[in-house]
């Protein structure tokens, strides 16, 4: 097995600082000049601005919507509630999620509202300021109904959020139920209750869509999105249009993180408005709207139970999840699947059983958020493993080493039905321990405890494993007569730098300079098919598809040359953009010019991959105030083959910052009536530079055995590994026996409160 450890971060810093091997990203040239083009930067003449009147009530019966005053305001083009529309389109269910049946999410609320922020009426005006004035003049009459905010409460409640239907929208089970004798006879059994708080994606650019009606009754749609072809299909289905009449273009996207792969009711309402008025219409969401949601991420109540023998061999693991899908089951109902299939993490556990319920509540609908079910899985098992170590009086690193799936047991099929491909989980932990100086920190911790000096110090480990990629992706490479190459991909960059990295993939196969290759993606009029960018799938799946397409282009060129030279194809060789046989030689450019288009299209569906790694955090908790300081964070990741190290390390860094945000600061909070309290970036705290601790990144590389490219997928690991490492470190620092006593985010108050019993005990 190919296995090597990459350089450390200081080496990376030097290389980057030298301007070394990594070329600048192509995207940068326009973005640093303010010449990028985000949806809100498109300023077509005569465009109407949309503002939504949204529900201030979390659950209620709708009376009439009084739009008269708003309509009379100068400059207002239209104000409509559902009652004004001949038909109210419904958001199509996603990924075949059956939970939506009978629980459709309408473009504008009909009869009932089910979360604060649900669009009730659409206002259109030439000017956003005027549209907001008109919004404020719309009067709503909503009679409040009981509000359910917690998925476990909602599952057991008499209150039906959808009349005649259970609040549990989906119930699933993975693995076999565990024989009660296993729990009874095991030397140790530990349990935990963990809360995965609701998070806000907070891409710096919020949602945005611009729609222009076309003469053929079709639409051109510019949207800040992750999956243009999916959006096209959904809009077509919801509006009853043939797909060919809709063109979706995704221009520059200001971050997405899972929140822009969906089709939202607002998009449907904007499309309806554009068609009814025959005008170009845009909706640019503002931050207050974005924080109100949808989407939110995470939102799981988890119960875990783990049995082990006296030596610390894990015998069984059980995970029960109540997932909050918010007011309408949408893509959030898919997330627990991810949590379930990778529930057992990197461990060889003979019995694993997972039960999940996706429950409707009166929070805003949830969606995948960077990590999308994986941080939830990793945190549950990694906190539980740490609890087990405490119970056994064993070092948590040693306990992990005892239970890892060994490299020679890979590929490995988990009891929940997922296949792990390749890697060396023990080596990742060992590398992380060496890098952070694990033994040194343990010695220091022991000394502080012995002498009672210094702030409580804790060391936390998270050995994660994730699943990346899914389904097929389209890739195409064409040799153009001018000597350049055109690559098409069905993926959709939202900041990951595909314009730079995808040409690198194609260039490496063709043996030509990357500068000769131009990438086009995110336009359904040019790219015939595609899925998009999420689930760390771009390089793993989309890159692999381009890799194959480039190979197929070479074959096609050899075949074409063989035909025109009338020689057997075996005699034709390809090298660096030319084919030759004997004395004859022609460039692909000339071949295309002479014989017609040379283009290879590929649709490739590799199996999902299993990147993995280990994160170790060292923290101090200020005893009086409860403030957590992360002193060190080491991240060891194996993403398989990495095409562009600078981009991938940037992804690691950024997702670690988001992971720290979940661990320490971020939480969407609702008041008891279901009104969100975190409506500004002063209430919803994402990390600033001052909150990001010293981070050391180390890479391992076990190529993905299932694709010729060998990439496993990157981008989400920091969100997966960092939270559990930090919370385990804080539990370790505070020496908490009941790990459920503290939940994320680990605010000073949460830490201070969790520490109280210990303080009280010490004082007695």
């Amino acid at each position: 097995m190919a296995q090597r450890a990459g350089g450390d971060d200081s080496e990376f810093t030097r290389r980057a600082a030298d301007g070394g091997s990594a070329p600048s990203r192509r995207e940068d040239a326009r973005l640093v000049r303010g010449a990028g083009c985000f949806v809100a930067d498109l300023l077509p003449e005569d465009c109407l601005e949309v503002v939504f009147v949204s529900s201030p009530v979390a659950h209620g019966e709708m009376g009439a919507v009084d739009v008269d005053d708003a309509r009379r305001m100068p400059g207002v083009a239209a104000v409509w509630s559902a009652a004004d529309l001949p038909a109210v389109p419904q958001t199509p269910p996603m990924l075949g999620i059956t939970a939506s049946a009978g629980r459709a999410w309408p473009a504008l609320a009909v009869d009932r509202v089910r979360y604060v922020g649900q669009p009730v009426a659409i206002v259109l005006a030439a000017d956003r300021y005027v549209a907001e004035d008109a919004r404020d003049a719309v009067r709503l009459d909503i009679s409040p109904l009981p509000v359910l905010l917690d998925p476990t409460d909602a599952a057991g409640s008499e209150v039906e959020l959808f009349l005649g239907m259970p609040n549990v929208a989906v119930e699933k089970e993975y693995g076999d139920p565990i024989d009660p004798a296993v729990w009874r006879d095991a030397a140790v059994v530990v349990e935990g209750n963990y809360r995965q708080q609701l998070l806000a994606h907070t891409s710096m650019e919020a949602r945005a869509i611009l729609i222009r009606p076309e003469d053929d009754d079709g639409l051109t749609v510019w949207c800040s999105h992750q999956a243009p072809h999916r959006l096209r299909g959904d809009l077509a289905a919801a509006l009853g249009l043939p797909e060919e009449r809709i063109r979706v273009v995704v221009p520059d996207v200001g971050g997405a993180f899972g929140g822009k792969s969906e089709t939202y009711p607002e998009y449907l309402a904007v499309a309806v408005a554009a068609r009814r008025l025959g005008r170009t219409v845009r909706w640019v969401e503002d931050r207050a709207e974005a924080l109100t949601g949808p989407p939110h991420g995470r939102g799981q109540n988890q119960r875990t139970r783990m049995a082990a023998d006296a030596d610390g061999r894990i015998l069984a693991y059980e995970l029960t999840i109540d997932a909050d899908v918010g007011g309408y089951p949408h893509l959030g109902a898919f997330v627990p699947l991810n949590t379930s299939v990778m529930a057992a993490g990197a461990y060889q556990i003979p019995r694993v059983h997972v039960q999940t319920r996706c429950v409707v509540t009166n929070t805003a609908p949830t969606s995948p958020y960077r990590g999308a079910g994986r941080p939830e899985a990793a945190t549950a098992i990694e906190r539980t493993v740490d609890t087990l170590a405490r119970r056994l009086g064993m070092d948590p690193a040693k306990l992990r080493q005892r239970n890892f799936i060994r490299p020679d047991a890979l590929p490995y099929r988990t009891p929940t039905g997922f296949q792990y491909d390749s890697g060396d989980y023990p080596a990742a932990l060992a590398l992380a321990m060496r890098t952070v100086d694990y033994d040194g920190w343990r010695a220091q911790q022991a000394q502080r405890r012995r002498t009672g000096t210094g702030a409580p110090l804790g060391i936390g480990i998270c050995s994660y494993l994730e699943r990346s990629g899914n389904a097929w992706e389209f890739g195409s490479v064409e040799a153009c007569p001018d000597g350049t190459y055109l690559a098409l991909s069905g993926c959709c960059s939202t900041g990951q730098g595909h314009e730079t990295s995808f040409p690198q993939v194609v260039a490496s196969v063709l043996g030509v300079e990357p500068e000769l290759i131009r990438l086009v993606e995110a336009d359904t009029a040019i790219v015939p098919r595609g899925i998009g960018s999420y689930s760390s799938r771009s390089m793993q799946t989309g890159g692999a598809a381009l890799h194959r397409a480039a190979g197929a282009l070479m074959e096609q060129a050899r075949g074409r040359a063989a035909e025109s030279w009338a020689v057997p194809i075996e005699e034709v060789t390809y090298r660096a953009g030319t084919v030759s046989a004997g004395q004859r030689r022609v460039s692909l450019a000339d071949l295309a010019a002479a014989t017609g288009p040379l283009r290879a299209d590929e649709v490739f569906e590799p199996p999902q991959a299993a990147p993995y790694g280990t994160y170790i955090a060292v923290v101090e908790v200020e005893p009086e105030l409860g403030t957590v300081s992360v002193l060190r964070l080491v991240a060891v990741d194996d993403y398989g083959v990495v095409i562009n190290h600078v981009i991938v390390r940037g992804q690691s860094y950024g997702s670690i910052a988001q992971g720290l945000g979940q661990a320490l600061y971020e939480q969407v909070r609702y008041d008891p009536d279901g009104v969100p309290e975190t409506r500004s970036l002063l209430d919803y705290l994402i990390p600033t530079l001052s909150e990001v601790p010293p981070v050391t990144l180390r890479e391992m590389c076990t190529p993905n055995p299932n694709t010729a490219l060998g990439a496993k997928g990157a981008g989400e690991a920091g969100c997966i590994g960092a939270p559990a490492a930090v919370i385990n470190a804080v539990v370790d620092a505070l020496d908490l026996d009941d790990p459920s006593a503290i939940q994320m985010p680990l605010t000073p108050f949460a830490c201070w409160q969790a520490r109280q019993p210990a303080l009280a005990g010490a004082g007695r």
Binding site: A17, R33, G36, A657, L681
Partner: protein
């Protein structure tokens, strides 16, 4: 109301409502869309521009407050001949941007600070405090810090 601004050296006469923000005036009236809006309540700094050389959040300022003043946006950062500003080069070289949505704000924040006091980059605490004023959701900031340090070096080198 009628206001006259000098934006990136160019005089602009605009007819705006009193409530119109500087950000909207720049983006929509002047069609200079490099200045981005990410919160519109003064927290993220994506909308940072220089007004009379000083970094301000253009979402918190009204266009009428800038009557007769000089505004510099990211579009005016490069030299007149298109030569990129050292900060622009450094951001790219250090991979200090991913989606690039926050980038104009960080560039203008740093440009204002380095112009006022180039030594700020030599003091890690002051630099940290400066860059803590803006939000980025993609990069984790480390590369932004490196980029500003690098550009400060270039600027100092050029001056000496």
């Amino acid at each position: 109301m009628r206001v006259t601004l000098t934006v990136n050296g160019e005089r602009r006469e605009l007819e705006v409502e009193a409530r119109r923000t500087l950000a909207d005036a720049l983006r929509e009236n002047c069609r200079l869309t490099g200045t981005h809006l990410a919160c519109e309540h003064g927290v993220c700094g994506a909308c940072t521009v220089l007004v009379d050389g000083e970094a301000v959040r253009s979402c918190l300022m009204f266009a009428v407050q800038c009557d007769g003043r000089e505004v510099r946006t990211v579009e005016g950062l490069a030299g007149a001949d298109g030569t990129p500003h050292p900060l622009q080069e450094a951001f790219s070289a250090e991979h200090a941007l991913q989606c690039g949505f926050c980038t104009p704000g960080f560039l203008m924040l740093a440009a204002g600070a380095l112009q006022e006091d180039p030594s700020i980059a030599d003091d890690p605490d002051r630099l940290r405090e400066l860059l803590t004023s803006n939000l980025c959701r993609c990069t984790g900031y480390e590369s932004i810090r490196r980029a500003v340090t690098r550009a400060a070096g270039e600027l100092a080198g050029g001056a000496s």
